[in-house]
Symmetry: C2
Amino acid sequence: MPEDIRPFEEIRLLLANMPPPCEESVAAVRARDAQLTKPPGALGRLEESSNGSPPGRAMRSPQSKCQWSRFSPANHGVVAKGVSAFPPSVTKQMLDNFTAGGAAINQICKSFGVGLKVFELALEHPTQDFTEGPAMEEPAAAATLAYGMEAINGGVDLLAPGEMGIGNTTSAAAIYAALYGGPAARWTGRGTGVDDVGLARKNGVIDAALALHGPHLSDPLEILRRLGGREIAGMMGAILAARLNHVPVLLDGYVACAAAALLHAMDANAIAHCMAAHVSAEGAHREVLERLGKKPLLDLGMRLGEGSGAALAIGVVKAALACHRDMATFESAGVSGKD
Amino acid sequence: MPEDIRPFEEIRLLLANMPPPCEESVAAVRARDAQLTKPPGALGRLEESSNGSPPGRAMRSPQSKCQWSRFSPANHGVVAKGVSAFPPSVTKQMLDNFTAGGAAINQICKSFGVGLKVFELALEHPTQDFTEGPAMEEPAAAATLAYGMEAINGGVDLLAPGEMGIGNTTSAAAIYAALYGGPAARWTGRGTGVDDVGLARKNGVIDAALALHGPHLSDPLEILRRLGGREIAGMMGAILAARLNHVPVLLDGYVACAAAALLHAMDANAIAHCMAAHVSAEGAHREVLERLGKKPLLDLGMRLGEGSGAALAIGVVKAALACHRDMATFESAGVSGKD
């Protein structure tokens, strides 16, 4: 394909044209907050959830029917190198479990009345083993990113992207090492539960990939193509589409944040609409969140993926929004103010 | 009243006859947990929420209709000393706000489909100013404690006691100082928002009370009577009744934990059925939770009272229980186990 129509250029153009913050919405939210029957600031981070300054963060009239957790299962060629405690067939089996309503994410979404949509990403075509070459060709990576942008279609007013894919903590760790510096061991964890031998193998696999691709890892989109997975590309697209359309995003854990980190490396303002939902028990997620400038709402020791941490945080955000929308004001309730 | 029929003796008798843990329930929960379609431990503290060992903690078939947030507004004589940023009339005004559905706790409970019940505690009769004498007589304190025990009536399967009362962070701080050692400044915070002058006054009031009652503060029930409030007595009764009936409890913040701390000082096993819901932004709550041996589920910088932190945590617990109850097993979903 000729240089002048490379698919990644379209993504770069979108990032170059992000809308500014919606200051009027934020001001309106803050003005109402000051009148509600509570001491100023007493709802802590619940106020921030309805009241933050970034674009799209101010959500004044949310409808629970429009809140969504959406996620993308994908398969990874690198699992052939023995980096996971589970076989790759589990990705498809879990996809069936999601469809049948039997996974954790189904129950969490049901608990909070949240819609769930699964984007299957060519499970029969795993990415290439990135220790032997780039995981994806540029057209495939760009097409998956564009497909991910469809996640906000249909009136979504809060997006919680998640993932499932045996091998994908290996891909995420490789991305962090490429973005922030190695060695692999600084970024890896036990994923679904590899033992010490498996963890050493995982580190070796990532260090080998970094050595192979090292000269080509200065561009975040090239990092995605060489070390990423389809679910990470899909989530990048979902987060970017939300940014362009003023839809706030709850960031899930270790793998979902790899998508956010790639966007952040392209332009820090690209994830200004994101809140961190939960800090994972997996490896270096806490450091990743610090680098992204995000403080997690929840810290419950989870490391499941599926968007489960983000979906749990939807419960907190829904309660925050209900307070903001439906609490009485000092005037309407006839409550005295401060002495 | 003669020594041999003192009302507090009935409370002591209840604490001396607490039931043992329900080991079968806990074992059954753990056995099911091991079969669910997730890596072991991947739901972190959500597993602990459905799976802990203390009595009453194992909740196998919870019905959302039976989850309750209940709380007790009460008035404090010590507010005459200027310890709060709001006038005491606000307690009654907020009671009306709760009844009309306009407070934060109403919205949070509605978000999660949780029942709410308010126990009004003789607002027209504030406790005595504890800088001048005991806050309550023993019969009144014991009767309020007994009234609080009614909180679990009607099939409650999860209890989240809360409170509202202008002046009650002063009472709670005095209780912590009496239990764990002074001076007041170690335990106080800004409550609803006192300024520096107000905070200094609050510290002085508590230190004066500790000097007055000091010789009589070795017995937790005597601390309740001398420094407590009706809402703290009511919550003690609610927590104790839950302990006796295997009902798990979510502990709210700074003031609610004063009730738990008094029970804990009588017998550490009396709060074995309690989980800490949220660590308050108020003063020394973090240290209180450490002394109680409880790690909070949430840390959202809230300092509102009303049981709002505990009600938010009900959302997390409901999601945890939904996962435990409704997730597929590896066998039922045909998902492969570890390699």
